[in-house]
Amino acid sequence: MNKETIRTGSQKGLLFGIVMIFLVLINFHIMAATMISKVLGTNVLRGAFPEVRFMIIFLVIFGMWAGWSAVRREGSTTNKLFEGLIGGMTTGLVVALFGLILFFLLETQTDVRRYLTALSFASIDIFLLGLRGMGILTLFGLFTLTGVLGGALAVGLRSQAVANFIKKIKTSIRNLRQRITDSLPDNVKKYGKYIFYLLLLVLLLLLPARWGSYNNFVFGMVGIYVILGIGLNIMLGLSGQFMIGIAALFAMGAYSVALLNSPFPHGLMWGFWPSLAVGVVMAVIGGLLLGLPIMRLRGDYLGIVTLGFGEIIRILLNSDLLTDLTGGPRGIQNIQQPTFLGMPFNDVSYAYLIIIAMAVSIFLYYRIENSRTGRAWLSIKEDALVSQATGVDVQKYKLLALCVGAAFAGLAGGIFAARNQFTGPNDHTLMVSINVLSVVIVGGINSIPGIILGSFALRGLPELLRELETYRLLVFGALLVFMMIVRPEGLWPASRPDLEEKGNTGLKEDLDPEENEGRSDD
């Protein structure tokens, strides 16, 4: 036991205590206890509160985590246990002080919900474990105890024996995998990729018909964001133009389909397919009109202007000025449903439509990326000046990127509007643009698997985890921070198959002094 021990322990404990306070202020403790309760098989009705024992489980887990992280890697076992104890005690102290305030609020029946909407009396009561004043002491004791437990767990799990055990398991898994690969016939290895695609195709054909309309809805949302993501990636990832207003182009596709296919305001009934084509064309025109005045802008300035463009379109749609033309704030209802060979569309057909649109978009994307145009875009992204010096018409290709990206956004918008049978200004807010941007960046720029994964993670998961709904943005923020640390290039970064392995070029020569002759610059 020394100064360092006390300092690490109390610092970590303080941190965890503050986090706990924050969590209680946003009512997260109730949600966590509810989740634990559900996992353990006791259902909690919406709006009801979980039992106190589940709250205790949550607090125990939290306290052990605090104790665990208070333990440093160095030092003797006693020291480590002591660190856990200090950590738990500090957390307990902070939480107890906070509990005292809560207790005071409870006793005087002061309602703070005007300022902290989540902090109801029932919520406070459960946090104090239903023990009122005694709850404060219990919380302190609980955190102290669990801190030591967490410390002990850290000592145990970080020991050499456990490390060896994990290593052994890892090796045997690797061996097993190697053995399976070796035992497969050559044909399977050779055609493995195609077999995978075939399975995927069968899965995509079978699933929408079977997994119910809610899943089809979620799947459709993911698919639409994949198409939007591909569109944005052409602007941002390939040609390096920082575009934030993609919601405006999305709106152009959506409103084209909506206005040309609804009884109100124009009474036009063009049918879905022609109006989808019009939607794509309108979005391209939108991209062109946006692009012409901003060709000279770069980086953050471009971002601000495109953001403004997105907002202008939304505000126009929302204003009374254009109510006669675009339906105004109420949007456009009763969009006529498409038919295919005389059959009306249902949720399953929309899922198939989105799969086809996605497949076409991905195919087109790969074709463009690997073409002369794609190469020109990448060169502009890297260095517009050199690109110009090698004979690329920079302005033309930048405009082209905006237009091609806009076409994808328009396609997504058209399908989106028809599927919802409604579209209005609130479907095209800044949040849509930011979500698409996040899908591309979180997934991995210039990587189609990344965009699909990002779209699923950011659009699909929140839908599936309805429980977390209120905390979606919290989880979202945490995910972004976590990802920036762990995977700064995205969940599934783009890979370049035509690059040489680092091992057999640069590295070897760096180690070989003979080869280094004449490279003594820099």
Binding site: L378, Q388, A389, T390, E500, G518
Partner: protein, 234 residues
């Protein structure tokens, strides 16, 4: 071959080039020397169409090109290699070379030219699948020059090819420039390393604050007392 008359270029209100006139004959190496901010790079950017002149003309093979866009000028056979080893760092060496031949549409021609570049710069062949950004400084400069040679230019505009390189490499680069010239490409060379530039050039112009203050054969310029004191450290 190249005739620049009374060129005036502005950056907003800043008068960067104040009436520059000079010429370059076919097969020559002409060097422009001058201190930082003299307007050397501005001049090259104007010739290659990245910047446009307010007053004055650039005439190339009897044709006024000063109003043409950069890509048209590349197609006419003037290639600009910008300063500071500007390569595409996240593209492979092969892709960099392909970008150089962006204006060429003939696959076979590109293949042949690439082979020729690997002959001239063997180090690039060894690294053809590496990202441009992973090359050393000298290799990057060679890549930039090779990229410039890909479309088979008649006139090469080189902006400070020796910048930031070790003396051994500078000599190597200048040998290559001479070799390129012997193979029939005219070179307009902008340099701060006046000594090296004058030793390989046929003629030279000295640029100071946007004006040409001295011109003549490289030998004469090298022996000019003003040049010796200002640029050759004599």
């Amino acid at each position: 071959m190249l005739n620049v008359t009374d060129l005036n270029v502005y950056y907003g209100a800043i008068h960067a080039l104040k009436g520059i006139s000079f010429n370059l004959q076919e097969g020559e190496i002409v060097t422009l020397i001058g201190a930082n901010g003299a307007g050397k790079s501005t001049l090259l950017n104007t010739i290659s169409g990245i910047l446009h002149a307010k007053v004055g003309t650039v005439e190339y093979l009897g044709e006024i090109i000063s109003d043409e866009p950069a890509q048209a000028i590349v197609q006419k056979g003037i290639v600009h290699v910008p300063e500071g080893r500007k390569i595409f760092a996240k593209m492979t060496v092969l892709e960099n070379l392909e970008m150089g031949a962006y204006t060429v549409n003939d696959r076979q021609l590109i293949q042949d030219k690439m082979e020729a570049m690997f002959e001239r710069f063997p180090v690039l062949r060894d690294r053809k699948r590496q990202l441009g950004g992973t090359l050393s400084g000298g290799e990057q400069q060679m890549l930039a020059m090779a990229r410039g040679l890909m479309p088979n230019p008649k006139l090469l505009l080189l902006d400070e090819p020796s910048m930031g390189l070790a003396p051994v490499l500078v000599e190597q680069i200048f040998d290559i420039i001479q070799d390129i010239n012997h193979h029939g490409t005219s070179v307009l060379l902008v340099e701060q390393n006046a000594h090296m530039a004058l030793s390989i050039a046929d003629r030279a112009y000295v640029l100071e604050t946007g004006k040409i203050v001295l011109e003549g054969h490289a030998n004469e310029v090298m022996n000019n007392p003003m040049v010796i004191s200002a640029y050759l450290g004599g």
